[in-house]
């Protein structure tokens, strides 16, 4: 009873906060691949763990046990969304740490047996950086190219994976162009060669069906804040049968079965679990709704503007992503022209540097196309009104700027 009362109050508060925190004239958020707002239902289960139940998960008393129970429940919820078991889930501070742990952890654990890593040029920076670190540390790294749609060549993968390959790290869904990789096929190739298969699924959870058993995935990275959970928490799935050994990257109190030390943040764990549960439960209907919005936006832009190009495959793509190049326009000016739309030019992590996206360059885009590309990310709280408004603004600004750019000016 008490819990229910609390729930209602919090949800009300949240609704008010959502409306007032960023006022009505606030820009429309269309950057769901950079980060997602915390779902009110997620926040609601997190809040009690801040004050009412604040114990350290690892304490041997009432407060500790209570927290421990909640964390284990969250671990089970997280495991469930990828078809894993609870004890295969290592909780981390986020997908970046998970990716670092997977790549360096596996490479170092098997250093004496195999020393080749395969990845792909369009991976997230943290995967590429971790691979680079292992390369400097004596490993051979193969970075597979992608075709114009954003996919690796499976035959080429088959050829480069040898009995010296310890790890293949290929993301499930690309963060810039949203394309979905054929995990099952990749997993098969890896398993046949005895190489471990790691996939960065930060952008995939809640968007595509993930089954670590069916796809022979040995390690899988999850992010909280990409799935309407909190920032500062993520997970790494580490297969137990056949067992994947991992060298811990952070040592200390021996939490997470020695694979990741540090006091577990109860509320963040609980939030991650709830976010996974909602993502699993609502994926089908949510995808349908978001796809409808995305397709509508795409249709409008394509029919009302010329020379717009979709980057990345149109079909094998998550519903919430559009990555479009607007030819014959100045990319920076375009972004400046639409302050009322929060979209991005590349991944958020590297968007501080406004150079062309390495992902789009890997697709073979020319400078004009990659300089004028926008990533538009739709999600759970995107509405049709917002989509219409975004389409109106984009069409108006692109038309206007193209007009200016190509109309003769008087000297």
């Amino acid at each position: 009873m008490e819990r229910n009362a609390h729930t209602n109050i919090t949800l009300d508060k949240m609704a008010v906060a959502h409306r007032s925190a960023d006022n009505l004239s606030a820009p429309i958020y269309l950057d769901y691949q950079a980060t997602t707002p915390v779902d009110p239902r997620v926040l609601d289960v997190m809040l009690p763990w801040f004050n009412k139940q604040f114990g350290n998960v690892h304490s041997q008393h009432h407060h500790g046990w209570q927290a421990d129970e909640a964390v284990e429940c969250a671990r089970a919820q997280t495991a469930a969304i990828i078809g894993a078991q609870s004890r295969e889930i290592v909780i981390t501070s986020g997908a970046t740490e998970s990716n670092n742990l997977a790549i360096k952890g596996v490479a170092n654990a098997y250093r004496d047996k195999r020393n080749h890593i395969v990845t792909c040029v369009t991976e997230h920076k943290c995967v590429l950086e971790s691979c680079l670190q292992m390369e400097r540390d004596g490993f051979d790294v193969t970075r597979l190219a992608v075709d114009s749609k954003g996919f690796i060549d499976l035959d080429q993968l088959y050829d480069v994976v040898t009995d010296n390959t310890v790890l293949v790290s290929i993301m499930a869904v690309n963060n810039e162009i949203g394309v979905i990789n054929p995990l099952r096929e990749i997993g098969e190739i890896c398993r046949a060669a005895g190489a471990f298969f790691h996939t960065d699924a930060a952008q995939a959870v809640g968007k595509i069906l993930l089954d670590v058993k069916a796809a022979n995935i040995d390690l899988l990275s999850i992010s909280g804040h990409k799935i309407y959970g909190p920032k500062g928490v993520g997970a790494l799935y580490v297969r137990r049968r056949p067992k994947v050994r991992l060298e811990a990257q952070m040592s200390g109190g021996g939490q997470e079965r020695g694979l990741r030390s540090g006091t577990l943040p109860t509320s963040l764990c609980v939030g991650l679990g709830m976010a996974c549960m909602i993502a699993g439960r609502e994926m089908v209907s949510e995808n349908q709704r978001i796809r409808m919005l995305r397709d509508h936006l795409y249709q409008r832009l394509m029919s009302e503007l010329d020379n717009v190009m979709l980057n990345g495959d149109a079909e094998r793509r998550i519903p919430g992503n559009l990555n479009l190049s607007f030819a014959r326009i100045d990319g920076a000016a375009l972004l400046m022209g639409i302050p009322e739309l929060s979209v991005s030019t590349g991944s958020a992590c590297t968007s501080g540097s406004l150079g062309p996206s390495y992902v789009l360059q890997a697709l073979g885009l020319d400078a004009d196309s990659s300089d004028t590309a926008l990533r538009i990310g739709l999600g759970r709280f995107t509405t049709m009104d917002e989509v219409e408004y975004a389409a109106d603004r984009l069409i108006a600004v692109v038309s206007e700027q193209r007009g200016k750019l190509f109309s003769p000016t008087l000297a």
Partner: protein, 371 residues
């Protein structure tokens, strides 16, 4: 029975109400701080405000603050990120220091829990340079405070770099990085009433550090990963609040004094308080009684509604004799009976009263049952 009396502040502290307020709002704010649009820029600005607040708590500059996922990560980053030929740690360090240093030299402490500075100096002088020394400010189990400024002088006079794990000291006693002169310092939010899942390594401007978690180049390339914005904001407010409420801990010191006087009176020679001869942070009392093992004490106290701990909270399930007490020369049979009582600003005289009465009761029962 619900726990009513929380005396385990060194494991974690309840979140300050000032922190709760800002965090609720922080969770509803949109945007990735690395995004260039207005949501992203606002998130970035919030992080930078918090960075100033956290820096101010320890007398550092904002640009010296590297946010991490907590104290453990900060300790790992310091010990593996600084290129050193030799790592010297004290025998009483937290596991996140002891376990992450690669074959460190261990500097012993005296029976009062304070580092033996002569031996430390000899170790530094004899070690192949460059040398990294890691010494905690206040011990998590006994509360004993190290003479950090003196240790820094010794370390620096021989060209060694000094890292200080100040997780248990910050917010309870005045800690000023520039006065102490330490090169790197670890702090954690949830020990000062901030959220769990966030901490920081304060890195002296002259220190060269290799990142451990690599990726998008956040935290000036020293720690990749999308920033935990609500965590950072909460940490900032916790830091600002703690900085302004150090006097609350004088009240805590008086309560601990009262606790120890009562315990001594009740148990006399059957009770030992560790490190009481040394300077301690105001809230920690590590105590062993002759008759009952720590494990039994913890369970019995928990049933009575009192939360304390045996040693540190870190490795769940593990009830081993404390390496800290062993380093202080406490024999195993005594160390096995040691519990840690750690107080906080919300602890009351009534809590102390209740604890002492319950604790005395355990004795009576223990004797009855043991007969």
């Amino acid at each position: 029975m619900p726990t009513q009396t929380y005396l385990d502040y060194n494991a974690t502290a309840p979140m300050l109400s000032s922190v709760q307020t800002v965090m609720y709002a922080a969770f509803t704010a949109l945007g990735n701080p690395s995004s260039v649009h207005s949501y992203g820029r606002r998130q970035r600005a919030r992080i930078e405000v918090a960075r100033v607040q956290v820096a101010a708590l320890v007398g550092a500059n904002a640009q010296q603050v590297v946010f991490t996922s907590g104290g453990t990560e900060a300790n790992n980053l310091a010990l593996t990120g600084v290129k050193a030929e030799t790592v010297i740690v004290s025998a009483i360090e937290h596991d996140s220091i002891l376990n992450c240093a690669d074959r460190p030299l261990v500097a012993p402490v005296q029976t009062n829990g304070v580092l033996d500075l002569e031996i430390l100096e000899t170790l530094i002088v004899d070690a192949p340079p460059p040398v990294l020394v890691s010494v905690m400010h206040a011990n998590n189990e006994t509360g004993v405070v190290q003479p950090v400024a003196e240790i820094v002088k010794i370390a620096h006079s021989h060209g060694a770099i000094l890292h200080c794990d100040a997780v248990q000291a910050v917010g309870r006693i005045a800690v000023d990085m520039s006065v102490l002169g330490v090169d790197l310092m670890t702090i954690s939010a949830h020990k000062i009433g901030g959220p769990k899942g966030i901490g920081a390594l304060i890195v002296g401007e002259h220190v060269r550090l290799q990142p451990q978690v690599r990726g998008g180049g956040q935290e000036r390339g020293l720690r990749a990963g999308t920033e935990n914005v609500p965590g950072v904001i909460g940490f900032g407010v916790a830091a600002a609040t703690s900085k302004n409420s150090l006097e609350d801990w004088q009240h805590v010191a008086r309560l601990r004094e009262s606790l120890e006087v009562r315990l001594n009176k009740a148990f006399g020679n059957d009770l030992q308080i560790f490190g009481h001869e040394a300077v301690r942070i105001p809230n920690t009392c590590c105590v062993a009684r002759a008759d009952i093992s720590a494990e039994i004490q913890i369970i019995a106290l928990d049933l009575a509604g009192i939360a304390v701990s045996a040693g540190s909270a870190c490795s769940s399930g593990k009830v081993e004799a404390s390496h800290v007490l062993a380093a202080m020369g406490v024999v195993d049979s005594v160390a096995r009976n040691a519990i840690r009582i750690s107080l906080g600003p919300t602890t009351s005289e009534a809590d102390i009263e209740f604890f002492v009465e319950t604790y005395k009761e355990l004795r009576t029962r223990g004797v009855e049952n043991g007969a």
